[in-house]
Subunit: 346 residues, 2 copies
């Protein structure tokens, strides 16, 4: 084995646990010399990170939880783990070799030693944009696919409502719903995003929730027959309004609650009586339970992308020094489409 | 046909729509002469009411809803419909004859003309107490059975929590859970009820929620491993505490929200993030969707009752003039076990 190259490895660390909205000052970029090498005898894999993913669930990991959370809290002073698209530069694992393109859990830095390479996924469609493996063909895409098909269980003709509809997950949910023969309405936080939903993603209707004063009335206007499926990315007041508008035997696929992540105390949801009277099923899910089904998803969604049945909008920040801005921006709705950070070209 | 007898028929009418807690003054007993007869050519059935059922869902029907509710609002000045156990005294319907014992939707009065006798159920086990057909073998019993088996989908060894556990539905849920091999804890609103849960119904543990200051801590104490199934009869703060204590892939069978029915505005439930992180399924149901499965339930539960595997506690008020007191008492927890009013012996 040749002597390992020593490189300058820039990393984004969390400086402290966060309460309320995160700020750029909660993170910082540090530089250290690193040996781009797998320790002798180790089955680890050294990767170069090409794209890093910024996702709403990461907010939860910034909090210091008194009891263990569903994902481990980030550790102040350490590099921030995240999903990403990577190139293998050295491998101690028989399933990987230098040059392989993979996606999976890596970290916000230029080079990462992956000590559990079994968690990585090889990229089977390098003819598609590599960045897709941090979005529509990665964790957010599988989230949309599993939540819509396995949790919400759509039928042709269903009335489907998607919140945060132009985001990494929502834009795919809406398009999958259209492919399934559903009527789809999305909500988003700007007129530009609403326009994207209607013109680019083929939603039947969409609205800017920041301009609506009575979400119940808005949903009644958009769904005079009521909602069969609410794909909930936001929780809070929108969930409360959706519950009032569910149809009999409606389903609420609970994917996330981005409206609540930065509050000291979550808002109360008052309309749960509708769950009884309308026989609604509200079901939460996590994408990690579906990683075993990834290949089926990749083939199906990759096919749709190649045939032009599905399109995907990304918001790509350039350079590792943009991670903090990009991540903080998620919680203010600054991103248009899936938020990524491009760290390296190859 | 012999000339119909004319009788004095006492009825309980709702005087006005209700806001907040109902009071006895919201109802009154009126007496009118009635002909105990089915109109010529009609397929209706005239019944004598033996037992009338007082159930929490009736509170919803006392409200004046601006939009149609899941069950029709009661009409001020008219007799209050309710489930009951009845004897057919005259029948215009080929499936019924005088002397048949039935249960189903009747009304708070001595004699009722049932114009949709297809909705009645014949009583197949007259060797059991007739009153059971307003409780453990009637609507509340089927509610418990369907909600526990079809909605909550229990497995042997599951940790099961039941609120309002000594009530008409809860006491059966707890016993079905024990028969299924689950660990069962119930909550109730008095030490007497708690004692009943532990000594009479075989709950593994029980607590008086009125004496607990921190329901989250109480549930942590009762369920150190967490809750697989929460059979929710109350909503509100108890639901919020249960959500914090659900296990992965736990189920909340949402049967009713008696803690909320008399509030001007429902309490907010804040811990819905747990539904996502723990992949919880919250599902509402109504017993009316299960009436088609009644015979299977009747045979199975009737068998358990005859073999002594299941016991049932009733709180029987005597006389139609007690309907208002009994019904109002439900919302203050005055009843111990299933609340009935005995109107006639046979």
């Amino acid at each position: 084995m040749a002597a390992a190259a020593e490189v300058s490895n820039r990393s984004v660390i969390l400086k402290r646990h966060v309460t309320g909205f995160p700020t750029e000052d909660d993170m910082e970029v540090v530089t250290a010399a690193a040996r781009v090498a797998v320790p002798p005898g180790s089955a680890a894999v050294m990767v170069k990170n090409l794209y890093l993913s910024c996702d709403p669930y990461m907010r939860s990991r910034m909090t210091r939880h008194l009891e263990p959370s569903y994902v481990p809290d980030y550790v102040p002073g350490e590099v921030i783990p995240t999903f990403g698209v990577c190139k293998v530069v050295e491998s101690g694992h028989p399933d990987y070799k230098a040059g392989d393109m993979v996606w999976g859990m890596t970290a916000c830095e230029e080079y990462t030693l992956i000590t559990n390479p079994e968690s990585l996924f090889k990229i089977n469609h390098p003819e598609l944009p590599l960045s897709y493996y941090a979005g529509v063909l990665g964790m957010p895409g599988l989230t949309a696919y599993a939540g819509f098909f396995d949790v919400a269980k759509p039928n042709k003709g269903d009335y489907v409502f998607v919140s945060a509809a132009s985001g990494a997950v929502g834009q795919l949910v809406g398009q999958l719903a259209k492919i399934t023969g559903c009527y789809v309405v999305g909500s988003a936080g700007s007129d530009e995003k609403v326009n994207l939903l209607k013109t680019k993603f083929g939603f039947d209707d969409a609205f800017n929730y920041k301009k609506e004063h009575d979400l119940n009335a808005t949903l009644k206007r958009c769904f005079p027959e009521g909602i069969d499926i609410y794909f909930d990315n936001v929780g809070g007041a929108m969930l409360d309004a959706a519950l009032l508008n569910m149809r009999l035997h409606g389903r609420v696929a609970m994917c996330g609650l981005i409206s609540q992540y930065n509050l000291e105390q979550p808002e109360g949801v008052r309309n749960l009586a509708c769950v009884v009277t309308k026989r609604v099923r509200m079901e939460g899910f996590l994408v990690t339970d579906y990683f075993g089904t990834y290949r089926k998803f990749e083939e199906e969604t990759g096919g749709h992308l190649k045939e032009g049945n599905i399109t995907y909008v990304e918001d790509v920040a350039e350079g590792i020094e943009k991670v903090a801005t990009a991540l903080v921006g998620l919680f203010h709705g600054h991103n248009i489409g899936k938020q990524l950070v491009a760290v390296a070209q190859d």
